[in-house]
Symmetry: D2
Subunit: 411 residues, 4 copies
């Protein structure tokens, strides 16, 4: 058995995004809609009108949907008067009081729409029926409520008008609207990313890891190596720097000269990376160095041992470079392109350069996870029309170990 | 005389945002539309169909509009075959070649739609009519073009399918789509902000400046003082710190002990701010200090001299505080609220705390300009549903002087 | 049995910091020094001279110390000629080759000091004895080495001149020198912080946690609550926002309307925080709400249950505020001051405002740990002459749970 | 005629940096010193002692120097008692009151050193001679001063003990001390950078500009082109992206599709950059495109016209690339290396990749100016032991025009 209610949308409901938002609300909250009337504004100056029947499984769900539709500007036909309840004490509002948005708002009182004065978000609305010049409605913050104030509760009889997109596209003033908030719980999100990797593998898909040197510096190299060894990384895309620091770890136990476990910095360590390069050149390459027993652990080691193909793309800030590094950028792009086209899920770890290079080759349908401690990097990487993306602003040094634990320690 | 063309939209065109985007494109580019058929998907699983006639003033404008509609997924009824032209030489594409998006794409060849293989943005599309198993179409980057390759030019016969918003709202994978790019030309944008301030004043409106201490440290205090003196700032909202550093400038020529003009840091200067506070307390307040000739320049001085009301809200990091500072946060909020409700344009300069406090009190219809060197601050401040906002990631130390020059030196 | 070697320092060795660096090197690496001669430059234009005997436990340690002293500009009396070895092949350097710094360098050849040409870091030095005009020494990057090149190995006969501090303090050009690198392994560093907390408790000391709302949004609230419950947090300093979001979690399972475990965002959730405030006001305060069973988990709950004193300082961006919030900033500072003076270790978690307020009250001898995802916040908080500080740029949402696990799951 | 005063330093004055700081203070403030006694701590556990005569031109300068030495821990032999003055009123301190640091402090009272209780920065010190158990000294914030409190004025009889560098190098707790503050007045600093460029040119030196694409996006291309045309840039180091966007501006008046003057974004503009590349490839290169009249303005145009050599280094994120781009990273490094070795002043503008590549090749004696809106980029670039560096966190879109105006509009 389902419950239903009719709602109306009016105005520039398409180009303001109102209609899209309302359809989205219903779908997100598990409801259904049936469009009964739709008069589209035929020209850009004409308003549209839509009446739809919204259905949900139970009253509770329906109320949630209606609440959200209401915030988005939809309203009920034949609205009743707003419900008013006296505040029980100073600073105390009635249960279920209406909490305002920052959009222009009206409340229905005695069959008339009163504009709410001093609109401001997170306030209560107080109606004063006996004001000079007739009834008035205005906002009050919680700490300004006086006992006895007539406070609007519930949403019945309240109408919100979210601002429309400005028509004049030459105005520098833009429409800013609730983007993705950076504030999301880290561990739960890592759990979801772990699930996505496991699903991809279960479906026979390919996971491409794109990794920057910070993965090694931040102490996450071991965790990434585990994921490679256990088969959760099918391809690796990185640069000369990543490989050098990983191999330095495998040879000297340091990354850029710092022991990543004891935090001690053997002073001579700053020469380790250049010595590492020199040794790998002498050996003839990474695979040869592994075969010769020069390198016995780390991400590159696991790639060699587990036949995980890797691409090391050269850059002008490289030391060395290693013999494995593709120094020509066009050649490197071609190699990256091939990997990108094979990937079903791409996990970008703390590297802007390599992530952009991979991202440039991806269709908008490939799933992408992008992790960086710099929010600007995450924004730049995901601001490309990717349809299936997770951006996470976090520390790769805790992210990869937590991810590896969640994938490997539970099965 | 106008020119017109019919286009079609199909699929989940409302909740994917496609329709809103298409309406927006037409309006932004100065065209007009006439919706001829609109079959809305009545349930969330049904697709919609829209046919509309797009009109523009001339062929050139129409072509631009059609190009954009095309990128957004609209297509022409009765599509022709794609136009193919041979590449004149290696790495050289024909004029007007079709440059790909990263969305799934098809090209029409010999009356059939061929899927474009290896979709990737900014590529050319090459059609190979003689491939094994029939004609094929695929992307090629510019540097891979061979002379003689049959390259698609123009948009006729090309169809793009931008990804739809994922229906399953429980997926952590979100829909990331071209947000506001941070990369905008600074001086032109400042010119537009200057225009907005001048317009507000010309319309008899009120400009509220919200300023942080960085305005003074970065050497922009004089420019802000000029704007106050010349009547372009009607109200000031700041904190104890801003006022102290501005008054320190007015008394000692330093801000936090550094001479903002010579960059010299008279070593004893770090005591100036605490001495400044002590002197203002002794005088009885800022107005008294100005009257007693203790302070003879600066933003606070100009506010006093020009009867520009200011609010200094206290915070737990204040030194002193000055007698003018409202130390109770509820009282301070009330004062901020009143200013906010009177403002027609709010210019937020390098302060997260005070800007959030003011922003909390603003209806979504008030124009807001937000300037900060930290992109996260700009994002946080504008991510609240403001309908009329400009965010600018720049250096307030060059922003305010440039703004003042543009407003004051031209009239 | 110890080994020893004499080294010399010459020039502006004090005001360039060379002497301090050299003393530090010896101490850091476990050696000892005995100053044999010290002629201090009496005026600012005179150079100084220092000769000291450096002692270490074994040859290996001594070599490391000498290597570091050498990099810092110290040299051996009676230097030998540099050791030269032919490169075994193209791009392959001899074992133990000398890897350059970016400072002016000389090599001793045939009893003469040759300046090294084209100084650049991470290169080999090649000596060409048969150059026109006599022997020359120059840098070569690894990939430019030709088989047979005479490459300098070891440090004997190499002299480095680190730049001195510019004397002219009016120059805007400053002396930038290896600061604390941001790139440190995250999990090891958290281990060290856990140790510091445990030590503090073992010594009967007091741990003060300063927490921002991001602790709750990022899902770290439970972990912090555990630390409070288990006695590892003795005092809490936070703001109204932190408490509201923590209490919202405790009442509705959401923070700012998002379920921090399932990531689902019950749409109506954005009203939860204002409803939470309203309920706590109705109850009369946090303690009362806990007693009435309104709140049954979370950081504030554990503080009440475990008699951990908390200070909630008000700010102008607060909603509500809660009855417990100290709205007057001077009063709040006084409360913060008392806590700060009692603390032996302060852990600052993702809040600039409250951390600055606490930091302002701390003597430079109190240990401070500062954690934030924004490097600018960490820099600002620690740039105050604190003698005992750890700054960590990481995600508080993974930091606190990892810290809690390390402290609580091992004992 | 000069004035002089004897001061003493005691303790671990070398390895704590105290001596270096004191020498620096005297030099920075234009004074002179004569070391009379210097007993160096011979072992790492022994303390040192230094007595020196400090000379200055006048009493005012000497006082400033002594103030700074005092803050750094130096003290006068035969210290007098501290000067005490009663506070004239509540919250009002006597003129010249002593404002505290956050270091352990003592005041001399009645011939004895009293430890100052509750040490905290920016406070007054109050002495209570009649406390139980004898005289006590403690800090008071300004707002806590009571009329009649005996407040310490001046520095005589006050002793400060700045913390020493922790000896145990294995502690994760580090010594954080006043770094370069980010808060410097922007326009004055740009004035100093303009001076440095002019000086370099006047001395016959070479200026190397390293430029990222943001220079063009932010609208600063014209200003940089002017500087090239007028001879203030001798060499250019950039990437394919910079050149493409600059040439796009020169061909279409847009950068990445946005008109940098009108801010209008001709919708089709996003294809301009790929069309630009295609046209330059067709022409055969940048120089050819200029000769053929295809490009008539911009930075690359001015480089060609004025014989300013440029290097375009390839990277894996390039579109195209242009025929002028050096795609092999080793080859590109060699070209960069040559430029770097010739440069006397390097100005790095908004590019991490290219700036690191150039910086890797510079000796520590070359002057470097580094400008970026991201503080982490500036820190990373200057954290390499450069002796002559200016870092500026600002908007390159206002920086370059302001710089060009200051250099070109005044001569």
């Amino acid at each position: 058995m389902t419950v239903a209610r009719t709602v109306e949308l009016e105005g520039h409901i398409i180009d303001s995004g109102m209609m899209q938002r309302c359809f989205g609300v219903v779908m997100d909250l598990g409801g259904n809609f049936d469009v009964e009337v739709f008069d589209v504004g035929k020209h850009k100056d004409e308003e549209s009108y839509c009446r739809m029947l919204v259905t949900a499984d139970d009253e509770e769900s329906l109320r949630e949907i209606l609440h959200e539709l209401h915030q988005s500007g939809a309203h009920l036909p034949d609205p009743p008067d707003a419900t008013l309840e006296p505040a029980p004490a100073n600073q105390v509002v009635p249960h279920g009081f209406y909490s305002t948005t920052n959009h222009p708002t009206q409340v229905r009182y005695d069959g008339e729409w009163l504009p709410v004065e001093n609109v401001e978000m997170d306030c209560a609305i107080v109606v004063d029926p006996d004001a000079d010049g007739g009834a008035r409605a205005y906002t009050k913050v919680l700490n300004a409520i006086d006992g006895g104030d007539l406070v609007v509760t519930d949403e019945a009889g309240v109408r919100v008008d979210p601002p429309e997109r400005p028509r004049d596209s030459n105005s520098p003033f833009g429409f800013m609207q609730g983007g993705v908030s950076a504030e999301r719980p880290s561990e739960s999100l890592i759990r979801e990313i772990a699930d996505a990797i496991e699903e991809t593998k279960a479906d026979g898909g390919s996971v491409l890891a794109v990794a920057g040197p910070a993965v090694v510096h931040s102490g996450a190299g071991d965790a990434l190596a585990r994921l490679v060894r256990e088969g959760y990384v099918d391809m690796l895309s990185a640069g000369n720097g990543f490989a050098v620091h990983d191999l330095e770890r495998g040879q000297y136990g340091t990354s850029l000269g710092m022991d990543v476990e004891t935090l001690e910095s053997p002073r001579k360590g700053h020469k380790h990376h250049i010595y590492t390069i020199s040794e790998i050149i002498r050996a003839g390459g990474i695979e040869e160095a592994v075969e010769q027993g020069l390198v016995e652990e780390g991400v590159m080691y696991e790639c060699v041992e587990n036949d995980v193909p890797y691409i090391l793309a050269g850059s002008i800030r490289d030391d060395g470079p290693l013999p494995d590094t593709i120094t020509d950028s066009v050649e490197a792009q071609n190699a990256i392109r091939e990997q990108a086209h094979e990937a079903d899920l791409v996990v970008m770890l703390s590297t802007l350069l390599h992530s952009v290079a991979v991202g440039n080759c991806l269709p908008s349908t490939t799933r992408v996870v992008c992790v960086d401690i710099n929010p600007a990097t995450v924004t730049q990487l995901l601001d490309r029309g990717s349809a299936q993306a997770i951006g996470m602003v976090t520390d790769v040094g805790t992210f990869v170990p937590t991810l590896a634990d969640q994938i490997l320690d539970e099965s």
